[in-house]
């Protein structure tokens, strides 16, 4: 399986779409936005450079986990690569486990690069415990998005998985307040935003950089989403790989 993970990582790192959308965009947006609003502080006195760091890292991580699962998986099912694997001794559970591990590993470049950019260009500094909590939470917190990507890739053809994944990714990023702050949303949209996995995910980070513990509500929301999407993903995956 390590070998399988290796080639999955390799192929995504050679994929221009992954590099541009998932690694390039969040980094470029961070550099742009933080140069505009990095010095401004929000109502709690937290600087824009910090908030934007979490937002862009969250966006990159969310995009990475969905992009590395949905479309490649739909393509593999359709193109016969899955079939090729099914006639080797590779156990079928290891395919889905590999997809999940790969997706988690592919989240790291954008997460780390955005944080690094924040430290280097904006002089962002956090206490050790904040980094120690922020990075793992923002990393593991992508599990519901990877599950959503697997659902899309299991149920749709490659052609329709592409736009659907894109819409989900951007939709979740917008409503979760990753691309525009939740504060500017209307009260109705805001109340919807609070139950999305993307908002809860980023909100944990925003709290951490403000020096407070993530609210229980966020943790609970993301766990519920992880459980629900994870269960659906298992069913969708089984349906997609069933041998008639």
């Amino acid at each position: 399986m390590p070998n399988y993970i290796k080639i999955e990582i390799l192929r995504m790192l050679r994929n221009k779409r992954y590099i541009i959308f998932v690694v390039g965009f969040p980094l470029a947006f961070y550099l742009l936005y933080s140069s505009l609003w990095g010095a401004e502080a929000d109502s709690n006195g937290v600087k824009g450079s910090l908030i934007l760091m979490v937002s862009m890292a969250a966006y990159g991580a969310l995009a990475a986990s969905m992009m590395s699962t949905s479309v490649p998986w739909a393509q593999e099912r359709q193109s016969g690569w899955l079939r090729q694997l099914q006639i080797t001794p590779l156990p079928s559970w290891s395919i889905v486990v590999t997809k999940l591990i790969t997706s988690l590993l592919l989240v790291l470049p954008s997460l780390v690069l955005v944080c690094l950019a924040a430290v280097l260009t904006q002089g962002v500094s956090l206490r050790a415990w904040q980094w120690a909590a922020l990075l793992p939470i923002m990393w593991i917190g992508t599990v519901p998005f990877a599950a959503l990507g697997l659902i899309i890739g299991s149920l749709l053809s490659a052609d329709s998985a592409q736009p659907v994944a894109m819409i989900c990714m951007l939709g979740l990023s917008f409503i979760g307040g990753l691309l525009i702050p939740v504060e500017v949303m209307s009260a109705t949209v805001k109340s919807v935003a609070q139950v999305t996995p993307s908002f809860s995910y980023a909100d944990m980070g925003w709290h951490l950089v403000a020096g407070t513990a993530p609210p229980l509500r966020d943790v609970a929301t993301i766990l519920v989403w992880a459980a629900v999407l994870g269960t659906v993903a298992v069913f969708a995956y089984r349906r997609a790989t069933v041998r008639a």
Binding site: N3, R14, W81, T88, R243
Partner: protein, 294 residues
């Protein structure tokens, strides 16, 4: 123990019976061609053999085990009909990845050499021609040194050059005492590259034997000549002749013994025989005769 054993295997999709009571046994070490027109049930049979489909009825054993078990033990390698590669990976990476999935694979260099890919090892799959990609898929099929190699229309996307190299590779692989089963609708391929030809049509076996036996079974040779206006009476009584057709002034005799037929044609009749042609029955005639819709 048989390499492949089908016992009364049927597969239906809804009301359509794709495979109908197939009984089949293949000894280890044989190279078998599964020949049949499109829709004959070749791919369905192969997908059941690989454990990708389950039979509606009957039992399949590969080397004494269920197909899924044989697959998970790495005893089967296969090229199914469509199967794209991962475009971002190189030939070497793909082959090495797949070979490492097997318990006792062939060496990487040996695989590349057999599939004639040594020069393409660093090329990405996205940049391969159709024939080259097929050769990579062949390499993936043999990578694990499977005892049973199954190829479903392996030369479909290949040009003549690739085809020649492919069959040379296949023969190298089979020479190690391994069992090979390949499906094709190219008659020459079945004729040239197999020890045994199984013809299936409508989900059933309609002929099974060496290519020579199948040709003989379908009426042997044909003797043709220009008859023009002469009488055809008595042609069907010539030695060996099983059928006579007259069309556009040409007589076509099907015969099991062309020498005797021709000798009798000259000595025993007063016909003026012009433009005599004798053709060995090719497998194509046999095939058409066998798979003709009733």
């Amino acid at each position: 123990m048989k390499a492949i054993a089908f016992t009364d295997v049927s597969k239906s999709y809804g009301n359509v019976l794709a495979v109908d009571g197939l009984d089949l046994a293949v000894e280890a070490g044989q190279t078998v061609a599964l020949l049949g027109p499109n829709g004959a049930g070749k791919s369905t049979s192969i997908n059941m053999l690989l454990g990708l489909l389950r039979p509606t009825r009957g039992r399949i054993e590969i080397l004494g085990r269920l197909p899924e078990e044989a697959v998970s033990r790495g005893e089967i390698g296969a090229m199914t009909q469509s199967g794209e590669l991962i475009p971002e990976l190189t030939v070497g990476e793909l082959v090495d990845f797949v070979r490492r999935l097997y318990p006792s694979p062939l060496g990487l260099d040996e695989i590349l050499k057999t599939a004639d890919l040594t020069d393409l090892v660093r090329r990405r799959a996205a940049k391969l021609s159709g024939g080259q990609a097929q050769r990579v898929r062949f390499a993936l099929a043999i990578a694990g040194a499977p005892k049973l190699l199954v190829l479903d229309e392996p030369t479909a996307a290949m040009d003549v050059e690739s085809r020649l190299r492919f069959w040379a590779g296949m023969r190298d692989y089979a020479a190690g005492g391994r069992t090979v089963l390949f499906a094709t609708h190219y008659l020459e391929e079945a004729d040239e590259h197999s020890d045994r030809v199984i013809v299936i049509s409508g989900g059933r076996i309609v002929a099974d034997g060496t290519a020579a036996q199948i040709k003989a079974g379908a009426g042997g040779h044909t003797v043709r000549f220009v008859l023009d206006g002469q009488s055809s009476t008595g042609l069907d009584a010539l030695p060996g002749v099983s059928a006579v057709e007259i069309s556009a002034g040409t007589a076509t005799l099907r015969t099991a013994d062309p020498d005797a037929t021709v000798a009798a044609l000259y000595r025993g009749t007063s016909l003026e025989v012009r433009e005599l042609r004798i053709t060995g029955a090719d497998l194509e005639d046999a095939f058409l005769a066998l798979t003709r819709e009733p």
